[in-house]
Amino acid sequence: MIERWALVSGLKGDLDTYELIQKDLKKTPGNITLFVLGDMIGPEKNCNRLLHRLINPKSNDLQPWCIYGWWEEQILLESGYRGDQRAEALRINKGEEVVKSLTNAVDKSFLDWIAALQFGFVELDCGLIHGSSKDVGENLTLDTPPLTLLDRLTRLQVNRLFTARSTQQFHLELTEGILNSEVHDLTGNHKKEQKVPQKAVIGVGAGKNYTLYDVGTDNTQFLRAGYQSEKKTKGFGLHF
């Protein structure tokens, strides 16, 4: 059977969207693994129902594999899970109100679960993270310098990096890399030409926008939750 990964992020408490994605995935052929790359929570909505569902999937749900994202990091900071630090960057940029909304949106009973989430997964030769291997808050996009992308791949020692923080959907291949290095030290001169094999960075989107990755063919499909069924309905409309 075809092996596929579904990559979701930025749900920010939106259980309806999560249910739409689950529904889509039920209709998708193949053996599907569902990864939720952080930002399950956010300040805009009460997140308790979504968190409860992620922790206690319904019997016909695909099991979600979650990591923490930028918003999870903010609530952990604010709740004292990172020593003396608090969510100061959030406070300065968005104000006290947003900090309050965030802490109000998540019941304290979920904090230990959030704190136990991993920074990322490494599956096969792929790294699955929220931001980058340098920082959970780093945006990787099509405009990020390729040298930076290559560095973030190297840090995790992977050939493909799935990232969500930018909310964009893209599949960028680094098809070739070459760099000459000459080191002079007390033993003499050492020249080396370094090449990199093909690598890729994949932006998985956020909210309703999610990604299907075909592990066998290395192809991505960028989807919008509920869109397939909407399209079908329209199609049937034409037939009848």
Binding site: L147, H171, G177, T220
Partner: protein, 271 residues
């Protein structure tokens, strides 16, 4: 004009004096220090006072940071438990020995110093604890210099002096899939950049026993590694007299290469 860059003095006063003499004999007055004034060696106050009195611009090293923050270098910095124990002991010894004034001096050192196209740091622009070894992945090394918006990056911390030129680089990219649809291909030429490691004045790890530093000519762009002999016996005796672990003296005398350096040098301490 020639300028000298020194690093990792490690409280070894005879070595520091010999290197400063060597710099003076060449008529060089422009000196930058990349930190680690203390640690391992027996004369931390004397070395700090010498550098401070000569008003040599200095970055904060990993030892300088750890000693004043009351933090011991993270466990990941040591290749063995024994090395870790010795390292912790040396931290404690140094912390006890330092005067309040000298601790304040270390606490107020900057992480980096920028002069035109040159950036001076202790470990890497990311951290005082990151090792930029000469055989580090070339693209990752170039990224450190580029992201720091420098043309030449001067660093220390590895205690191995080297000059690395990264040139004729290219990365080709292709958008395989995107929303909105896009299928661009492009080639990006990478700039030529250099990393210069000044080695170590007070705790060499290049296989020999001489103190090392570098001389950079900002007109010709030439960099030279200098090796300087100093009175090793004097430092070794002071180490023993101070009650520091005798292995610190032994490796100065024998030019031991690896000392306390991490096995996984690419590891960045997240402490």
């Amino acid at each position: 004009m020639n300028q000298a860059v020194i690093s990792c003095l490690h409280a070894n006063l005879p070595a520091v004096e010999a290197v400063l003499k060597d710099i003076e004999l060449q008529g060089i007055t422009n000196i930058t220090c990349l930190g680690d004034l203390v640690g391992y060696g027996p004369q931390p106050n004397e070395v700090i006072e010498l550098i401070r009195d000569k008003q040599i611009p200095t970055c904060q090293g990993c030892w300088d940071e750890d000693v004043i923050d009351g933090l011991d270098a993270c466990d990941c910095s040591y290749p063995s438990q024994l090395a870790e124990k010795r390292g912790h002991f040396a931290h404690q010894w140094t912390t006890n020995k330092l005067t309040k004034e000298n601790k304040d001096y270390l606490a107020n050192l900057p992480y980096s110093i920028r002069k035109d196209k040159c950036l001076f740091v202790h470990g890497s622009p990311n951290s005082q604890h990151e090792y930029l070894l000469p055989d580090m992945d070339a693209f990752a090394a170039l990224e450190r210099v580029e992201n720091a918006r420098a043309e030449i990056l001067f660093c220390g911390h590895t205690h191995q002096p080297y000059i690395r030129e990264l040139a004729d680089g290219l990365i080709a990219v292709k958008i395989k899939n995107a929303v909105p649809k896009d299928t661009q291909e492009k080639e990006i030429q990478l700039p030529m950049r250099r990393i210069v490691n000044a080695g170590s004045v007070g705790e060499p790890r290049h296989g020999g026993t001489k103190a090392t530093y570098v001389v950079y000519n900002d007109v010709t762009n030439e960099v030279k590694i200098r090796e300087v002999e100093y009175d090793i016996e004097l430092t070794c005796k002071a180490i023993i007299d101070a009650g520091l672990p005798p292995i610190f003296a032994w490796r100065l005398k024998n030019g031991f290469e690896f000392a306390e350096q991490a096995e996984d040098a690419s590891h960045v301490c997240e402490r």
